[in-house]
């Protein structure tokens, strides 16, 4: 166990360093003079020279990289070319918005995905399995942004019952917050729900067909004990990992969802950053995303080793 954790920590650190190199080189690969790119709309030669010095662009590339990482680690992600505000501060404001949206979507997805996945595996060859499979297939086939548009068309324009845009923090007004989160959360969570449903279903089917389920039935246990106490417990190990791995997809979904529902979060910053060619902002956003993602993957792996006794106690099964 200890060695496993250590190995994953080292691996994650290596991945982080590689990711920062990629991001750093990515900015160098921008067409034209990086100074021009970093300056955005700025044209004044004196300002350009200042940027060149500020970013240490007159130094060797290795020195530049080390400085870049050093600044990033101190929380200095540069200044937005568009707003002239510190990138870190701007991201700091947007992040809580996105986290609330993502958390809500996650809850929706897990609730829908787990329950329909269990139903589909237990009630085989029934209308409920068929319905659950169909919904999951649609969830995988419908583009998030179009689903969003349809939802807005239906619930905000044809039958205006819910707000189609904006954001209210859960901590200032929970009711209004949930009203605003409902549509985007549903849209963002739909794809994830479909993935969770399918994974739950296949893991449950595998578990339900296994020898230990036969043993559990041979012991005289009731249906619920067999399904929840034995089969689901095994399946959750797989499902947890999948959910963790899907967080990347969730980040992609956030970008689109925030765009459609005009939520002032992280994803909106990314799109705005690209559309206005705000390179320092993009660089910062990509770095934060990659770091978060590496950390999440690490956490999922560690969580996995906690919930699976085969890894937790006594051994290197993997």
């Amino acid at each position: 166990m200890g060695r496993y954790v250590l190995r994953r920590l080292v691996e994650s650190a290596v991945t982080f360093v590689l990711a920062t190199i990629v991001i750093f080189l990515g900015v160098r690969a921008l067409p034209g003079d990086p100074v021009r790119a970093l300056a955005g709309e700025e044209n004044d030669p004196q300002a350009l020279a200042e940027i060149r010095r500020a970013y240490g662009l007159d130094e060797s590339i290795v020195v530049q990289y080390v400085r870049y990482v050093g600044r990033a680690l101190r929380g200095d992600l540069g200044t937005s070319a568009r707003t002239r505000l510190p990138v870190a501060e701007t991201i700091g404001h947007a992040l809580p918005v996105t986290l609330q949206l993502a958390a809500f979507a996650m809850v929706v997805a897990v609730l829908i995905g787990l329950s329909t996945g269990i139903v589909a595996s237990v009630r085989r060859r029934t209308a409920s399995e068929w319905a659950a499979n169909t919904v999951a297939l649609l969830g995988l086939s419908i583009p998030v942004f179009w689903f969003g548009q349809m939802v807005i068309l239906l619930f905000a324009i044809a039958y205006p019952v819910l707000p189609a845009s904006g954001f209210v923090s859960f901590f200032s007004d929970p009711v209004q917050s949930l009203r605003h989160l409902l549509l985007p959360g549903l849209v963002l969570g739909s794809g994830l729900a479909a993935v969770i449903m399918r994974q739950t279903r296949s893991a449950m089917l595998e578990a339900l067909g296994s020898d230990y389920i036969r043993t559990a039935r041979a012991k005289g246990l009731g249906g619920a004990q067999v399904v929840f106490g034995h089969a689901l417990r095994n399946s959750l190990i797989v499902v947890t990992t999948i959910v963790g791995l899907q967080l990347g997809a969730l980040i992609s979904g956030v970008v689109v969802t925030e765009q459609i529902f005009v939520v002032p979060g992280f994803g909106k910053l990314i799109v705005d950053g690209v559309l206005t060619r705000d390179y320092p902002m993009i660089q910062g956003l990509v770095l934060v995303t990659a770091t978060a993602y590496i950390a999440i993957n690490l956490l999922v792996d560690l969580l996995y080793s906690v919930i699976d006794p085969r890894i937790r106690v006594g051994g290197a099964v993997l």
Binding site: G26, L140, P143, L153, I157, S252, V274, I282, Y293
Partner: protein, 295 residues
């Protein structure tokens, strides 16, 4: 490591040589998969033959007939410039299918060799695994955004971004299969018979890993098509006036109230195409996976 186990467990298909044609027959006996295949074939033909099939050129404007609802003359209606939406959807399909196929081809071209090497040569494994992890540290859309920033938004950018984003999955599947197959008796027999590494990989391992790769591809193609739609929707894919389904939906956003059909038809086209691909893919997966058959 855990990820690898899951990818292979989910998609592992034991390759029984010569069983692939039988698998295809089994797919076609599954009505949903057969319907999926028919829809895919029709969509691909429509995309390829868009020049011949489409009633209007995709960029023919007609301000006299702007924002028309669907009618016998314009099946899917017209947009604010009077362009025929049916024709534009057909051309949009061309972009979707093209990006879907090319990006998956790109991911296979890069991912398969890396996966084979990673699974075959233990000393390369940690190196390639770290590279895979690094690539995975950038969610698909963030990667695409970064590439679009560097390369400028275009269909090629979208293709590269989607292809690159799918490389890790291909590496992992290939690596898993290579590890599995390398332990098989017939590979050991080939080694004992003096077969070199190249022969082993080309003749004994790769052909048997194909099933698993097909299964992975059935997931990747529809994902790539959705990816293209998203990128075009965000303005990072095909640039107007060239029609892409995502781009059409993006420009329809401001016309929600005046022309809801502008939002409906391109979306339905994407959904039908990806749904059909997923149905066919599911059928293919069941047919190639002997564990499913036994159930």
């Amino acid at each position: 490591m855990t990820v690898l186990e899951l990818t292979t467990a989910d998609t592992a298909a034991a390759a029984v040589p010569g069983s692939r044609r039988r698998a295809l027959r089994r797919v076609l006996r599954n009505p949903l998969a057969a319907v999926g295949l028919v829809v895919v074939v029709v969509a691909v033909l429509a995309a390829l033959l868009a020049d011949l099939v489409a009633p209007f050129p995709y960029d023919r404007t007609n301000f006299g007939a702007a924002l028309q609802p669907p009618s016998p003359a314009h099946w899917f209606g017209t947009d604010e410039l009077g362009r025929d939406q049916f024709s534009r959807v057909l051309f949009g399909l061309r972009a979707s299918v093209g990006v879907g196929v090319l990006s998956v081809a790109l991911s296979l071209a890069v991912g398969v060799p890396l996966g084979l090497l990673s699974g075959f040569y233990g000393w390369l494994d940690p190196v390639i695994s770290r590279l895979t992890d690094t690539l995975l540290a950038f969610p698909f859309l963030v990667l695409a955004v970064g590439l679009a920033a560097i390369l400028g938004p275009s269909l090629a950018t979208a293709t590269i971004a989607i292809g690159v984003a799918q490389i890790p999955a291909i590496i992992r599947v290939t690596r898993g299969e290579t590890l599995r197959l390398r332990g098989m008796d017939y590979v050991a027999a080939a080694v004992a018979g003096g077969a070199g590494d190249g022969v082993l990989l080309r003749r004994h391992i790769l052909p048997n890993a194909v099933n698993a790769l097909i299964v992975q591809a059935t997931v990747n193609v529809p994902a790539a098509i959705l990816g293209e739609a998203v990128l075009s929707f965000l303005g990072l894919g095909l640039r107007p006036p060239n029609p892409s389904l995502g781009g059409m939906l993006s420009s329809a956003e401001s016309l929600f109230r005046d022309g809801p059909w502008l939002v409906v038809f391109p979306g339905v086209a994407i959904v039908l195409l990806t749904l059909a691909l997923n149905l066919f893919g599911d059928g293919l997966r069941d047919a190639l996976d002997p564990r499913e058959v036994r159930r």
